[in-house]
Symmetry: D2
Subunit: 347 residues, 4 copies
């Protein structure tokens, strides 16, 4: 099977990771790297290489030896580059978030559909073996109805002038929720709080609560100011609870066969008796997951979606659902009120 030919646009923070994974992939032939600064592109490519360096996106898109582009430029530039690439007939992989506003995002999705080209979001975490496993455990009913989700993603972070901490970190949590929940990221009115205690001009610490269908809630905590790094994600279910600790390679995922069982209903409460709950103290099960770099699996999915002429697992629609919740978070931060996310308009 011939390799697909790809160029990476943007050799800054994330681009080198894409370059490395595309180069190591059996699916991809990295043809060119494009950056305004040719020295930065050259550095990413390294010595003794014949990968091309481009400094102009238009010129890059004129190349005939390209099937696809991977865009790792700042979010506000995504829409223009992606649409140009799609109109040039290239498949497009774009870094999260899809765009800096919903209107741009919707146009990108529309052009991809019109051009019949793949538009894929690099929601990297959805390609980790851990998240694939969580999705499976939910869809198989092992976890049961989701009662609560607690996601904590904190570390010292790069305070950025044009986005707050939610826009930087929460796309990971939101895209994971979209991926694992049976109904996707279909949440009720979002309550978000945050603070900028160092007076940087951006919210640096934030918490958001998302009501889930069925009565549960998801909570997302993001923080740029924490000297400790935590990436924990807990899915509490009616049958079992799953804990994913991404910084514990010996035991990333653990499934607890424990929980609370309610055997009487609140109408018994009239009698002022204890609600009849019992605890199930069952075993813990730690599945053997393969250790694989998520980005490698992500670029494989990009190739597979193109070859099979189907939508990628994390397509433009998932990117739009994530954007909708980010906008609701911003509005809740501004007003102090719960805010319902815009439902995605089908395109």
């Amino acid at each position: 099977m011939d390799k697909l030919r790809v160029a990476v646009i943007g050799a800054g923070y994330w681009g080198p990771n894409l370059v490395r994974n595309l180069r190591n992939s059996p699916d991809w032939d990295l043809v060119a790297v494009c950056d305004l600064d040719p020295a930065r592109a050259a550095k990413v490519i390294g010595d003794r290489s014949t990968v091309a360096i481009e400094t102009d996106v238009s010129r890059l898109l004129e190349r005939e030896d390209l099937d696809a582009v991977a865009i790792a430029t700042p979010p506000r530039t995504h829409a223009a580059i992606a649409i140009a690439a799609l109109e040039a007939g290239k498949h497009v992989l774009v870094e999260k978030p899809l765009a800096s506003n919903l209107e741009d995002a919707r146009r990108m999705v529309e052009v991809a559909a019109a051009q019949n080209r793949a538009l894929m979001l690099d929601h990297t975490f959805c390609y980790t073996p851990a998240v694939r496993h969580i999705r499976q455990m939910i869809s198989d009913g092992v976890i049961g109805d989701v009662l609560f989700v607690d996601s904590v993603r904190i570390n010292l972070g790069l305070v950025q002038p044009d986005v707050n901490v939610f826009w930087d970190l929460a796309p990971h949590d939101l895209s994971i929720l979209d991926f694992i929940l049976p109904s996707g990221l279909d949440v009720g009115p979002v309550t978000a709080t945050g603070a900028d205690p160092l007076d940087t001009g951006q919210i640096c610490v934030g918490h958001a609560t998302l009501p889930l269908p069925g009565g549960g809630i998801a909570n997302i905590s993001v923080n740029w100011l924490s000297p400790t790094k935590i990436r924990s994600f807990v899915v509490g279910g009616r049958n079992r609870t799953l804990v994913w600790d991404d910084l514990n390679p010996m035991q990333r995922v653990a499934l607890y066969d424990r929980g609370v069982e309610v055997t009487k209903r609140p109408d018994d409460l009239a009698e002022r008796k204890q609600v009849n709950v019992s605890y199930r103290m069952g075993d813990i099960h730690v599945p053997a997951l393969r250790e694989a770099e998520a980005l490698g699996l992500m670029v494989a999915e990009f190739a597979a979606a193109i070859r099979e002429e189907r939508a990628p697992l994390t397509d433009g629609h998932s990117g739009m659902r994530v954007l909708s919740v980010l906008h609701a978070i911003d509005e809740s931060l501004a007003t102090g009120q719960p805010v319902a996310p815009h439902k995605e308009v089908t395109v």
Copy 2:
């Protein structure tokens, strides 16, 4: 120095812990245990003992060989028992929460003042060496201005018919905040969210955000449905960040000399440049704290306050501040709005 004479009222869930610590204390002579069920009292006392068993609080309070009582009965009974004991001239230690409503609490504080007797709250965690250390690190300026507090207190819990998960668990977090923050529990409008996904009739999972003076925020997560037990408490400061993990006896408290430093201000943002932040990646310092049961230190403080004729460290006023925030949480849960806690009326 003669021992002070004490009785424990309530031999249910928490009473046996008070009995054990009062018996082991050089300050206290446990004279009696009082419970409606004499067999339960006898079981707590054990064989070959001359500690008295009482089944009636009025009769107990008539005893002349009693300096103080410790009340471990359900919250709604606290006010009546405590006021009777204070009026009988006994000093009073009461389990948290102080009372089931602010009006009762205020009367308890007033009677204690009128009778010139100690009214102490068993805010147990404030007596742990860890919390004492945190308070010191804040008052010494080692941590610096508090930017954020994250408190997580989750475990399988006993769903109760008359209180939600905030009333059960958050008094711990709130009393700690009251104890360590320079201005005590003086917080802005509280935003609380919660869920009862098992339909028990009570909120079982909850999150509350409390704005702190100076622009920071404290977040409290409580959960009765989690099969994993977490008790972590993080205080992020301008100078250093302190992490308290109460389930890690080898390293309960760690002080991180790391953080974000802002060297430019948001007015630079007009130029669309990165905010100029830098990271300080300093060392971690783990202080040697003595291992001591907090309840033992708490009963020692009760004796010391009586002997020195001063207010205990965790007195009725601290109990009222905690109650005010609990009420604000309940109102925020009911309305979806941020709710400012009632400021305590000086009595």
Copy 3:
């Protein structure tokens, strides 16, 4: 069922733990505490108690209201006290090690047999739910043939003038091995090394290797000088490996369904090819064990053995097997040679 009547002899380091557990037990009535120092005995008993204080063992043993004694005096005194007690018709529980030499130990076992009284060793760890589970997993074949055991038991310890670190700590490891291995503590020649780098007069750091039947080995590391506390015990088997970390209450025992599988034998090696091993990377299973204080389960077994007129699970013979290996360790330390433990002479 009437309680059995017991006295504790020795109110020093370990005695108070026995007192507490016997008092809390439904099986036992603590009648007296005996110590040369009556103030020390009184302190252990506490106020408002009618438990008797004795200062003379002979007088204690004349009491008619005693079924058994628990001996927590220094090891060199065990034999005389235990034999006197057995001859007075009392059942005997003795702290580890059974005695300070094998000859004394053998006499104790003989007298217990002649008097038809229980002689039980307080091999506390054998009564933990963890060790009971390990024994079960081995006898059920879940672990398979034992390939290796690694036991590490280190912490700051009290350097003692009359015993080295092996005699202080290794009885725990050896009694556990005796309890869990299908053939008991039936080991080959022991190789022990040690050091006294602070020149205290006693070996403070030690390592011992014990060949197991079937070709495996057990290694025991003990250390009085380590500021970190480790109590880990790993049983590597042909089918699965079990890790017991006694300081991790959330996950004391984990069973790894992983290992090495050999599919070719060394005669293939003539061809200088890789031995054909494959890895099995299966799941990890963490069983739900009840949390119970081992000492409480130990005193329950003492009562049960007396009532059922049978040998206790950790009887005098197990104590003698442990002593035999301790002597072999001492001889290996002195000579630098592997030393076979004396096989226990049947009595």
Copy 4:
């Protein structure tokens, strides 16, 4: 400064890691990769590259555009390749162990000296920030005299037909000891035990004790059969104890200001009193170490040693000291006796 030109010989297990680090290094220009199997070399190099592929070492060594070679072939081939390269005027980096016997090793060292070329061992761990820090803490006297070292290096490992587990894993521990101890790897008679419980033809589980100058001991535990991965290294000193846990990136190194202090000497023991020891329960200090890949720092040292015309930090002599102890371990395994390592003959 011009880059130095290098070729990697051996594209099997470790070669790709050398290729990656040499390519990413500002010091090195990777000219060629040499392997008997050109497809394997091509795979390591990747697409769109002009790095040369060689299949014959002699032909490779004839190239004039080469300053150095890095040898990652099986140990028994090291001597012949290294000597040919040195005689061709190339500097040589060789994987551990230096050679498969001391005689070969000595010849390699002699030829390097005669040719005035660098001969460096890839003792990778010596280039980790953690080991550099440990060396500093010992040489600065922060740790004090070394009382004990415990090194545990266990995991599922590739059972190999021509080396036992000590030859596979212990070179890491031994090279670290050689690097950090003030007198290098100058140890007394070595006691080693081991087992091959799966009958693979090679010792798969082993323990070795090495007496240190001054009365302390080092213990090394290696194991190919363990499903858990442990890499812990503890240096217990008279003043402080350092714990290095390489699998804990948040806290790789911790320095414990705790220990045992002896204030009386054993001659007091005649009186049968407790040795007068006290514990110091000081703080724990976790230094901020930079996170850097050790292999990258190692190839930088190789370049620096060549440019500065000095011996590399881990030179052929260190490789010979490690080999001497490995041979002593093998002899102790065979005889059951403690065996003194051959002291290195100066060349």
